[in-house]
Each structure stands twice: as structure tokens, then as C-alpha cells.
Amino acid sequence: MRLQKLIWVLWPSFIAAGAAEALFFTVFDPEELPFFGTIVGASRIATYSVGFFLFWAFAAFSSSLTCFFQRGSDEINRCPLPPTARPLGCPKRSDENASCR
């Protein structure tokens, strides 16, 4: 489940970053981009690459927020411990979907 969520976050943001990268750098030449008043000194390839990872990071941030807000109430309320790890005597030891209420 963890891994699945990771892919849900990383993969759509990768596609979005690709599109953003293509559009952005078609319009703006990295050698003419002002960076706090000066020109980015790095080579174009480096700027393109760093730009891509920045786009990816932003898109991934958005995707992870989506994932985060998407959780239903039972997912939030659910006991974080798997049934067998709950303390002996817990009345909900056998209930996989037990919530904390």
C-alpha cells in the first residue's frame, strides 16, 4: 500500500512535469532567465535537468496532498496497529477494520 501510494504520487507528477518542462523551456531560454537579478550561470543541460526536477517536485507535492486529503474518515480513524499487534485484551483484536472510536 505504501509503495502503491508512492507511485500514485510520483508517476502522475512525472507526466505533469514533462509537459511543464517542455512548455516552459520552449518559451524561456535558460541562458536568458534572470535568477534574482543575475543570469543562471549553469549550462543549458543542467538548467533543463534541474528545472525538470523542480517541476516534478512541485507536481509531486500537489499529488501527495491529493492523496492525503482523499483518505476517508474510516481510514483516518482506523487503528494503526494490525490486529495481531494490538495489546492482549484489546476488545478489537480480531477486527481488522477496527476504528479508535
Binding site: 509503495l3 502503491q4 507511485i7 508517476w11 507526466i15 520552449t26 518559451v27 531560454d29 549550462s43 543549458r44 543541460i45 543542467a46 533543463y48 535537468s49 495481531t84
Partner: protein, 479 residues
């Protein structure tokens, strides 16, 4: 794990089911099949890969024929040179691709997925390597059940070794589309590749290895956007891969010589070959499912069985929803391919292709942008002459040098002052030329007056040919 794992269709899988990248996934061991569609797929694999691996090595005009040169911000495709300003052509290309996909999907479902998609193509190649080294389905399953032994280790190491080598070559080729491949090759040979180039070779190589070696059908099932929306482009006349239940049911095993019709059996011998051949592990006999990538491996597999049994081929075949219901003949199915929807799609597609080809052919390989230098107007308000300064960006988009002459008109007595003309603009490059324009105040009617620059660019290597001419408007402003 103390409870048996549930698969997504509710069936309980045995404990050997592994938790892999996406969900509880039973490893799929596709069985190799031979037949018409397998041959078609291999044809496409070879064609697409010949183009992919070969194209960056071709030359044209003493440069790489196909090069998306990110460093100099120019895309070269044989005789054509594209500048960032030409992004409209990229957009048109994307529209054409999307439209073709719609068209093919409406006609015959997921043709793209089954035959041309890189995911399919690389998976096919990687599976071929796997088969060569580890053997076909039963041998692979047996090998995976065995405990680790020197032989198993050797086979696995060999497989992953070849996979990784191919993946790295793919990554190298990919980067070779964006940075000159001959230079890159020399850098690789002397171990002097730039750090970003190395990074992208490894990144793309790793993606190829992961997607074609490990993820396989999971990419199609969970990651591909097209797989999710392709069904909206289907209609009841779309050719899809279908099992013929009327002919096949009731299924059941039987001997070759048995008169199965007398026993009340259909043509399906329930051998399960169609399921074993399927790269996504589907049983097509349960009807069309979104996981089906339309690869037709089940058709080939079943046809092999039908041949062995001496039954006619085509228990699983390309057919349409309507054809199955109405028992259409083959001619009727073909006739339905040319239905209004398909004809309209085709017409629009051709229209876009022709219009864009004509505009591409007609485009003038000289672009001029005029910017008036606002800070540089003369301020003496009783001066009899008004002066404006402009910067002309002249882009020579072709691969020949040009000799450029600039003139100005639009107002009586207008004069132009610039560096010595003609101005040489080298091949595929741009130059900014500053010019000063002067006009008598008496001939200016408004505060802002329309003037135009004429830029003529001659080809010095062909003195006889007519120069390219571009006219750009500008405003002459009284300060």
C-alpha cells in the same frame, strides 16, 4: 501474513502470491505462441526499433540528421530546422498523433498497445531474451520454484546482464537524440561523459529495465492513461478480440478423435492456452476487459490448438460487438469499418495533415522581430527631425548564410542609419541589428506613425536567386 491474500476480483490467491510493485500480483509467465499476429508484432518490433536505434546515427548536411539539440535550442529533422518559435508545429504534431490514435482505436481497438507501444515492444524483446536464457513458460516456472543453486544463479545473472546491457544501450540512444550521438559515443568510450548526460542515460536505462523487465503488464494496467480512457473511443462496430461463446461453449476436454458434437460439447477444449499466452493474465473467454491490451496472443495460441484438433481457426478472433450479436459475415464486418464516424475522423485527420504540410512547406525561413528602444528617443521638441531607435532581431532559420539589407518606408523623407549593409547572418543563427530611423517632423501627422521595415536576405552562395523578403510593421513615435 496470516490471512490469505485477496486478489482484486475477490478470489483467494495461494500464499505464494507476492506483494509486488502495485498490488498483490501473481507473477505472469506468458507462454510463447506462434502465428499471424505474433509475426505482425515482431515486424513492428523490428521496424520501430530499427528506426529508434538507427536514426540518431544518420547524417544530413554534415550534421546529425535527427537531433533535438537542446543546448543550441534547435530541432533538426533531416532538411528541416525548428526553432522554439515553431512550437505550433509541435502542437500540430501532437494533435495528429492524438487523432490517429482515436482513429485506430475506433477501427480496431488497442492496435497501438498490442503492436507499437514502446511498453509492448520492449516487453516483447525482454521476454524473448528471458525465453532464450530461461526457457519457455514451464521451464521458467520450474526454475522460479527451485531453491537457489549455481545453475539458477547463473541463468538469472545472465538474463539480468543482457537486460541491463540492452537497457543501457537504449538509454544511450535516447540521450543521443538530444546531444550529438557521435560525440557522446566518443565520450562514453573514453569515459568522459558529462554528469547530466550520464545521469539521463542511467535514468532512461533504468526505466526501460524496470518497465520491460519487472513492471510489464502493470504499466498498462495501472500507469497508462490511454488504457483508462480508450474504451470511450470504442463503439459497437469496433474490432476487438473476442471469444465466440456460441461456438466454444460448453467447453470441455476431449480426445482428438471424439465426436464432441454428439457429446454436446462446443469447440473450446478448455486447454487454457489462451490464458497462458496472455501477457496480462486474462481469460478472454470471460469477455472484453479493460486490462486486455489487444495483443492477439490469445488468438495465435487458440489457433494453434484448433489446428492441432483439426477444428477451424478463429474461436478467438477479431470481431465486433454487433457482429457477434448479429452473426455478421466477414464482408459485412469490413463494410462496417467504413462507417460515418471512421470516415469523419479520417477526413479531419487528412485535413490537418495537408494543411500543416502546406504551411510547413510555405514558411519563410527568415523571421524578423522589431523592438522600439523606448529609452533612446531624442528629446529636443523643436528639432526639425524626429529620431527613433529600433532593435531588429533577424533570425535566419535555414542552413545557409544570408546577406541582409534593411530599408524603411511609410513616411515622406524617412531615412535609415545602420551598420554597413549588407549584414551577414550566418546559417541557423540570429542577429540583433540596431538601427536609427529619422523623419522630418513636418511629415508626421500623428504622435505615433505607422512605418514598415523591409528585410531582404540574399543567399550569397547562389547570387542569381531572388532574396527572401519580410516586411515588419513598427511605430515611429514623436517624443
Amino acid at each position: 501474513m496470516d490471512t490469505p491474500v485477496k486478489s482484486n476480483n475477490g478470489a483467494t490467491l495461494p500464499e505464494t502470491a507476492e506483494q509486488t510493485l502495485y498490488e498483490v500480483r501473481k507473477k505472469i509467465y506468458p507462454r510463447a505462441v506462434r502465428g499471424k499476429f505474433a509475426a505482425w508484432r515482431w515486424t513492428f518490433v523490428l521496424l520501430t526499433q530499427l528506426v529508434f536505434y538507427g536514426a540518431p546515427w544518420l547524417s544530413w548536411n554534415d550534421r546529425q540528421a535527427v537531433l533535438f539539440d537542446l543546448v543550441s535550442r534547435k530541432f533538426y529533422i533531416f532538411g528541416l530546422v525548428f526553432w522554439p518559435q515553431d512550437i505550433v508545429y509541435l502542437t500540430v504534431l501532437l494533435i495528429i498523433c492524438a487523432y490517429s490514435l482515436f482513429l485506430f482505436t475506433a477501427v480496431a481497438g488497442r492496435l497501438w498497445c498490442g503492436f507499437a507501444c514502446p511498453q509492448t515492444v520492449y516487453t516483447e524483446v525482454f521476454m524473448w531474451i528471458e525465453r532464450r536464457i530461461e526457457g519457455d513458460r514451464p521451464a521458467r516456472m520450474k526454475l522460479d520454484r527451485q531453491p537457489l543453486s549455481p545453475r539458477k544463479f547463473g541463468l538469472k545473472a545472465a538474463k539480468h546482464g543482457v537486460w541491463i546491457a540492452l537497457a543501457l544501450w537504449t538509454g544511450f540512444t535516447f540521450v543521443g537524440y538530444f546531444t550529438p550521438i557521435h560525440v557522446l559515443w566518443r565520450e562514453v568510450m573514453t569515459l568522459h561523459t558529462g554528469s547530466w548526460e550520464t545521469f539521463w542515460v542511467l535514468f532512461y536505462g533504468f526505466a526501460t529495465y524496470g518497465n520491460a523487465g519487472w513492471m510489464r503488464e502493470q504499466v498498462c494496467k495501472y500507469m497508462c492513461p490511454y488504457a483508462r480512457f480508450q474504451s470511450v473511443m470504442f463503439d459497437p462496430d469496433t474490432l476487438i478480440i473476442t471469444y465466440d461463446p456460441d461456438r466454444g461453449e460448453p467447453r470441455g476436454s476431449r480426445g482428438r478423435s471424439v465426436d464432441y458434437k454428439a457429446k454436446g460439447l462446443g469447440d473450446c477444449v478448455d486447454c487454457g492456452i489462451c490464458v497462458q499466452a496472455c501477457p496480462t493474465g486474462l481469460d478472454i473467454r470471460n469477455g472484453l476487459q479493460y486490462e486486455c491490451i489487444g495483443c492477439a496472443a490469445c488468438i495465435d495460441g487458440c489457433n494453434q490448438v484448433m489446428d492441432k484438433m483439426g477444428y477451424p481457426q478463429g474461436l478467438i478472433r477479431y470481431s465486433t460487438e454487433k457482429a457477434m450479436q448479429g452473426h455478421y459475415s466477414a464482408e459485412r464486418i469490413v463494410k462496417r469499418v467504413f462507417r460515418p464516424r471512421v470516415l469523419v475522423y479520417t477526413a479531419i485527420l487528412w485535413l490537418i495533415i495537408v494543411v500543416s504540410a502546406v504551411t510547413l512547406y510555405e514558411r519563410v525561413p527568415l523571421k524578423v522581430d522589431v523592438i522600439r528602444d523606448r529609452g533612446n528617443v531624442m528629446h529636443g521638441s523643436d528639432d526639425p527631425e524626429v529620431q527613433n531607435v529600433y532593435r531588429l532581431q533577424i533570425m535566419n532559420t535555414q542552413e545557409v548564410a544570408r546577406d541582409v539589407r534593411i530599408s524603411v518606408a511609410g513616411v515622406d523623407g524617412i531615412k535609415l542609419e545602420a551598420e554597413a549593409q549588407p549584414i551577414r547572418v550566418p546559417a541557423t543563427s540570429s542577429r540583433v541589428v540596431a538601427v536609427r530611423v529619422e523623419a522630418p517632423r513636418a511629415s508626421l501627422k500623428d504622435r505615433s506613425n505607422r512605418i514598415h521595415f523591409t528585410v531582404e536576405a540574399a543567399d550569397p552562395s547562389h547570387p542569381g536567386t531572388a532574396p527572401l523578403t519580410v516586411v515588419e510593421k513598427a511605430a515611429l513615435v514623436i517624443p
